[in-house]
Symmetry: C2
Subunit: 252 residues, 2 copies
């Protein structure tokens, strides 16, 4: 996505549309026109005009409480995307099956800019589970997927790719770069990544790479710390993950 501090004044109207939609997405909740004004920095009359234009096209809808959110058209467009993205389409049943087999959450993540993004999330039926919303973006070093990505990269490339701020965990803890590099190397040799209690103290994720063209994607299994703890079980999980990833990797 585009920086919110877009200084360019080119195509302001369209920038407004884009930033309005991004704000809606970020809030993940319907917003009032007032909130949209504040969030986008657009003047009142412009926001209203935008809302009207986009509502007419079905891009936005106004709820019974007067709040604005995405409309049907976005549903259609989003499904068009998911249908046409080869990897996503093929991955859905695979990830669903993976999730069902172990009754844990299976995810497909893709790199989007300098953040990992959850593109598919299939939950197990377990009453308490680790789960994310599709579209959630997470700094590379926080994720198991990211550790797989960085495997084999030089220190310089890694430091260039990852924004400094992303080495600080949500807990406030600073990731030690040297220890991190060592862990990445370990991950690379092992062939899969494992994180425990990193983003959240209860989350445990395993990730393996998917190779498909230039797309940088990872398949992960997520569960709560403590589950699937013994080594044999973990081997089984990793093996299943690898198999899934192999199915999805393009043979070219």
């Amino acid at each position: 996505m585009r920086q919110s501090t877009t200084s360019t004044s080119r195509a302001r109207g369209i920038d407004r549309v884009i930033s309005l939609c991004e704000q809606l997405h970020l809030h993940r909740e319907p917003m009032t026109p007032k909130e949209l004004m504040a969030a986008t920095g657009a003047p009142r009359s412009s926001v209203y005009e935008l809302i009207n234009l986009l509502s007419e096209a079905g891009w936005l809808e106004t709820g019974s409480d007067g709040r604005i959110f995405f409309g049907r058209a976005m549903h259609y467009f989003g499904l068009d995307y998911a249908d046409h993205n080869d990897l996503l389409r093929r991955a859905r049943p695979v990830m669903r099956q993976l999730s069902a087999r172990f009754d844990e959450t299976a995810q497909l993540c893709m790199l989007d800019g300098d953040k990992y993004t959850v593109m598919l999330n299939e939950n197990g039926a377990r009453p308490f589970r680790i789960s994310s919303e599709v579209g959630v973006k997470v700094p590379i070093p926080w994720t198991a997927s990211g550790r797989v990505l960085l495997g084999g990269m030089s220190r310089e490339v890694i430091l260039g790719l990852v924004p400094e701020a992303d080495f600080v965990l949500p807990s406030g803890e600073q990731i030690d770069i040297d220890a991190f590099l060592a862990e990445i190397e370990h991950t690379r040799q092992r062939g899969y990544a494992l994180t425990e209690g990193l983003v959240d103290s209860f989350a445990c994720c395993m990730a393996v790479p998917i190779h498909e063209g230039d797309t940088i994607a990872r398949a992960t299994l997520c569960f709560t710390v403590g589950r699937n703890a013994d080594q044999a079980r973990r081997e089984t999980l990793v093996e299943a993950l690898r198999e899934a990833a192999a199915t999805l990797s393009h043979g070219d």
Copy 2:
């Protein structure tokens, strides 16, 4: 969606964005810039500028063949819509289960303007099946859902709501209004709609209403003509549909 013959000259830039996305959705396939120029009627440089702006924001993506299609951002927005739409969210598991139980296609349709639109489509596992893409729009009189909708409406209201052209079936056959009204009345008394070989000679659909606020929605089961033919089986299907619809209907 908005008429393609929008004569208003207000906010042309945004109109262009809207029409570009609508064209992509209509074609259901990635398009070249050239095709987009032709489809939207926008000048060459404008199309390129649009593509660049929207690509930068992740709204569009360029495939390896140079064709343009929706990008990741649309996926996020679409899922936001589906997550926030109460009915859709609750309906997904219900329709999935309905589909699984009979191994037929279950759909949730909503009225969008004067057309019925498929909002959820869960396929049975059967190798040959009746199915639609989410987002497909169908004239009211062609659908079982539409017959449920019109139940109880006066002749005048119905003729005002349904565009004249929609009384002509894909086969070219003209629907006789009087027979149609009689059938609607029959449908209303029976409590569910049944269409056989209407839109397509092999499609058979059953629909029941879902009551939830002002949203006009229907649950349907679709299968090929000839299947589920005997009366007892149909009763079972209808009963299950009614149950699903009751689950989804809001108790207010």
